[in-house]
Amino acid sequence: MDRLQLATLLSWAGEGGLQGRKRLQKVVFLLQTAGCPLGCRYTLHHFGPYSRDVAEACDELVAAGLVEESGGPKSNSMTYSYSLTPATRRLLDAGVDPVVQGFENLGRELIAEDLWQLELGSTIQYFYGQEEVWNQALKRACEFKRVDPNDESSQRALTLAQRVHANGRQAGADH
């Protein structure tokens, strides 16, 4: 994921910025599932799919002064927040990443999604990538997250994963 791609994604979060590194991780994972070519490598970590590439891309934008980071342990907050600086917004006025921009609607929806749904939904999707059977993926994800697969919340996360996956299949068919 290059700088322009991540800046384009963060622009969808608006002035308030994107809340949480975990949220960023899951949003990128699900966007990739939906066919957005961000090229980040994921492994299974404490809270589901996790990518060093995403963490590094984000930290690089902060170090370069293109993204403002707030929150975190130094401010006694568990959550970091990321927003574009005014200068970066002006740079984006000259052109966002056109391919990533094609996923704006889904991206905005995911950024606004409940964090638990993103966590569980992306974990279901991760296991679906290995199993290719939704029920099995749900079972493994719920075992991993220690929740009941029959809970309403788990079922909603499954629907989210399936919807994003269908989006990816559609994107693949379009290409």
Partner: protein
């Protein structure tokens, strides 16, 4: 029964207990492991540092030695049975972690599209290899277990086992930093490795690894050692220039081949190239292992007499160590597009063409990703930290990321941006530098 003893310039003696670990000697004697004797640990760094002739075999042996030491320590300070149960797989992983490397280690990977980790896993899983047979004789599930531990994406085994082998502070790095420092003669890369190995402890229900705060300075020293080694050895401009030359040559040969021209390939490379996408599963492991450094050098020697002038010239340059000069391009006009240097490349190409050089072979862009210039990266979010992605010390009973514990490290561990350097024939260098300066000047002027 006496120990098997190896002399090693880093550890003096590396011993293997024949009674307990005789299987390790059998593994070492396998042809796939012996092949590592013929792979330079640092690729073509010996073009810059003549002493850098050490091999993947000596490194793998060193890593095995360190793994043995750290396991002995963990056995003493924690649940000994748990450590003993993992010991054999971890020692085998240490010895075999680089078994799939191709010629010149990492640097040749883009030339043939090799992913050494995938090949390492394939060599271990392939039933026809000696290492597979030795592992299987020890335990039927051992080959798969070792392959899983090498696979960075595999989370079957506990994080502490993966972290010992592959993390921000692992036995692989502890060995290669000091070994590379010694053989290059660079003089950097020293740190208190023994303290790091003998103070690591379990955390979080014995699944994760941390260090006590008394090890913080040894960790700091280790991070600085990495920083100096990256600056002085791993990213040395001369070495990077020869690496770029090697890549350009292979890309040229590939282009010629695909356009139907005879590139006079030696038999094993011919077979490799014939496969659409040669990787484990489409190309036999035994054939892959036949691609050696001498295969590559012999191929380059063949090309030095090729009818394609550029290919022949670059082959000659490589063999005679007649490298290119490095030039820094002007900064990108838009910091969000770090690859966009505006007029720089087209103007540089004009200069090259005027002098009779073909830009595709004589204007080599070398992208150094920011993460390769960063000696240590840590995950900021405490919830997402683990031994694999962050070095942590215990302060007041809680694990704290080393970058947070020692804020002075900030200057060294801040993520640098990707950089692109250009390599051109030496006679073009001064004109290229002038061009870069002129564009820099006009950028400054436009900003003001």
């Amino acid at each position: 029964m006496s120990d098997k003893v190896f002399r090693d310039p880093l550890y003096n003696y590396i011993t293997v207990d024949r009674k307990r670990d005789g299987w390790l000697i059998d593994l070492l004697n396998c042809s796939e492991v012996q092949r590592l004797r013929r792979i330079h640990q640092l690729g073509v760094s010996n073009y810059t540092y003549p002493g850098a002739e050490h091999t993947r075999l000596a490194h793998s042996l060193g890593v095995t030695h360190l793994m043995k030491l750290v396991l002995e320590h963990l056995e003493r300070v924690s649940n000994a049975e748990k450590i003993k149960a993992a010991r054999q797989a971890l020692l085998a992983t240490a010895l075999l972690h680089d078994i799939g490397h191709g010629p010149f280690s990492h640097l040749f990977e883009p030339c043939l599209g090799i992913d050494h980790e995938k090949w390492s896993i394939a060599v271990i899983r392939d039933e026809s290899t000696c290492v597979h047979r030795v592992l299987k004789k020890e335990s039927p599930d051992l080959p798969n277990r070792v392959a899983d531990l090498i696979d960075a994406d595999n989370t079957t085994y506990p994080a502490w086992q993966r972290a010992l082998m592959s993390s921000q502070l692992d036995v692989d790095r502890l060995d290669y930093l000091r070994r590379d420092s010694l053989f290059t003669g660079a003089g950097y890369g020293h740190f208190d490795w023994h303290r790091l190995l003998t103070t690591v402890e379990f955390h979080n229900g014995e699944t994760d690894l941390v260090w006590p705060s008394k090890a913080a300075l040894a960790i700091e020293e280790y991070i600085f050692a990495r920083y100096y080694m990256y600056q002085n050895v791993y990213l040395h401009k001369t070495t990077r220039g020869f690496e770029a030359l090697l890549r350009a040559m292979w890309q040229r040969a590939d282009t010629l081949r695909k356009s139907g021209k005879n590139v006079n390939a030696n038999p094993v490379l011919e077979r490799f190239w014939k496969v659409e996408k040669a990787e484990p599963g489409t190309f036999p492991v035994a054939e892959y292992l036949r691609i050696e450094e001498f295969t590559v050098l012999e191929q380059i020697q063949r090309w030095s007499g090729h009818t394609d002038r550029a290919l022949a010239d670059c082959a000659r340059r490589f063999l005679e160590r007649d490298g290119f000069a490095m030039v820094e391009p002007p900064p990108p006009a838009n910091p969000l597009k770090v690859d966009d240097f505006g007029d720089w490349e087209p103007e540089l190409h004009k200069i090259l063409i005027e002098k009779g050089y073909e830009p595709s072979m004589y204007c080599l862009a070398d992208r150094v990703k920011g993460k390769y210039r960063q000696p240590y990266r840590e995950e900021k979010d405490p919830e997402n930290q683990s031994a694999v992605n962050t070095i942590r010390v215990v302060v007041d009973g809680k694990p704290v990321a080393i970058g947070q514990h020692l804020p002075r490290l900030g200057a060294v561990i801040a993520p640098p941006q990707d950089r692109v350097f250009y390599y051109v024939p030496k006679e073009i260098r001064s004109e290229a530098v002038r061009l870069s300066q002129n564009i820099r000047g006009s950028l400054k002027h436009a900003k003001s």
